[in-house]
Symmetry: C2
Subunit: 348 residues, 2 copies
Amino acid sequence: MRVKSYQRKLDIKNGCVDLSHGSGGRATTQLVLGLFHEAFGNEWLARCNDQSAFGVRSGRMVMTTDSYVVSPLFFPGGNIGSLAVHGTINDVAMAGARPLYLAASFIIEEGFRFSELKAVADSMGAAARAAGVHIITGDTKVVERGKADGLFISTTGIGVLAAGLDLSAERATIGDRVLVSGSLGDHGVAIMSRRQNLAFQIDIVSDSAALHDLVAVMVAAGGADIRVMRDPTRGGLAATLNEIAHQSSLGFRLQEEAIPVKPAVAAACELLGLDPLHVANEGKLVAIVAPDMADAVLAAMKAHPLGCDAADIGEAVADHHHLVQMSTSFGGGRIVDWLSGEQLPRIC
Amino acid sequence: MRVKSYQRKLDIKNGCVDLSHGSGGRATTQLVLGLFHEAFGNEWLARCNDQSAFGVRSGRMVMTTDSYVVSPLFFPGGNIGSLAVHGTINDVAMAGARPLYLAASFIIEEGFRFSELKAVADSMGAAARAAGVHIITGDTKVVERGKADGLFISTTGIGVLAAGLDLSAERATIGDRVLVSGSLGDHGVAIMSRRQNLAFQIDIVSDSAALHDLVAVMVAAGGADIRVMRDPTRGGLAATLNEIAHQSSLGFRLQEEAIPVKPAVAAACELLGLDPLHVANEGKLVAIVAPDMADAVLAAMKAHPLGCDAADIGEAVADHHHLVQMSTSFGGGRIVDWLSGEQLPRIC
């Protein structure tokens, strides 16, 4: 890093971000080099350009973006930084693609502590390294006190798609099986447990995780018979399945007793009047799979650490109203609608 | 767009964004389809997936990201939306690359008017179409009133790089010429003219523009003899040249009278105690070009509408202190330092 000569050391322990760190001048460079490059360090960032270049082979790629505004910034099982990296990797992976590179952009409120920013950046770096992806370009903006809420992060990911794969929401077909990779509602309940006005003691951590490796074993097992995959984040499984139902012009019928929900999460949801099917997940996926291949894909999922609680929870059915219906444990049935309002703001 | 069946019409004239529009449920879909897809509409968005796929040929690509927090959101010559599209295209173009696809992520404050959001989105769509790029994926988050400042936009761009090009900040060489594509300071002064506490009447509009086409003619003329290009945004020309000086371990010597600054911008800067070399530009570039090729590149710039006021303003020189120095019109000299503090917060 040849620009180190003009880098003064940040007082990370005691210092705060001020407006000068967003000026594009010396202070911005000091923050970017002293904090973000330290955390993400790689050959691309070291060149200190406003963009980074990388080689590609002929084929297909995918691109996805997300902004993260989660509150609180730190929660059991992660923080806004690890969440941003995992979430963006997952949106790349849901196409069946292998994530390669991330871009990260920071909007910071004046007065935000360097020590917290470093903790977030270090989590991002660790999450990226663990997933084998690189944060190759970024941006830092600072707004006045009271014009943001500590820290927002926008991440964009790109990845490569294997030939022959075309997972898309309109490909679900009547008779397809609905697979989920594990227990539902963990992330949302972990966040709720740390909200000031909803503090309760509970032993639940966010499921925030990068799912690309799980996806790779699923694609190896099911190939193009996996019609569509989605990570049920905001709005939970209910929103995800309702979206797919509309986009594929069919319905879903689920078996309630097949849907994995941890007892502590179920108890917390009951206390709060929430439906676990509406609560956000950040390390789970839903896959709609052709019936002949569903058992093989499910077996591959169960053999992976992030899919050990995977389950076949229902099937795609003909339905002109595109409803998601569920047979309950008591023998009845109910419609699993998506929420029209906002139950859990700023969950991701 | 097969999901239209569950789209209710937004009341764009009178309505506002509320927290439900960030829930990931029905209201989010309504906002995304009714407003963003209308403005950006293309085959990728129409598939309504969390990511979009595209074909690539083997070679090299570039990626860049920026967050936009400009205040006010609307200013003479553009708004936060057109600025985001232009700025991201420009960061792709500064590598000598051809921009292809953009991702756009929105952080919206509760209560923000649909009509303003539509105006911003329409500007983004128009700017993208005019530049021949596509906004292929996006995200929308909503935060509570008082937790943001109306609207922030993060955009990420990717593009393809011609074989043999490797523009990078460490490639400037002693003797290289410094070219700028036009008058400096227009964007910053246009923003200042609309700041509540600095209102003055002045006939200056932002220079916000997409520079990729200008870059293409420059690359055709100069090829690999263009060592580095940068768009002098935050921190202005002063910050850009100081960065390159450090990254290339040399200095620059500029001729003040060669630097194009519009009289009205110069007058406004004098009134406000600003140096136009510190003021942001959003439609200008600086190119460091090998001396033998500088005249040809400058001629190509002058023949392009966005480079008609281009000028050769100085050269790269040996300097162990990596200073940017300027010979003034009065025969003296001064050091063009970058700002250590923040002169113009939230200029982009």
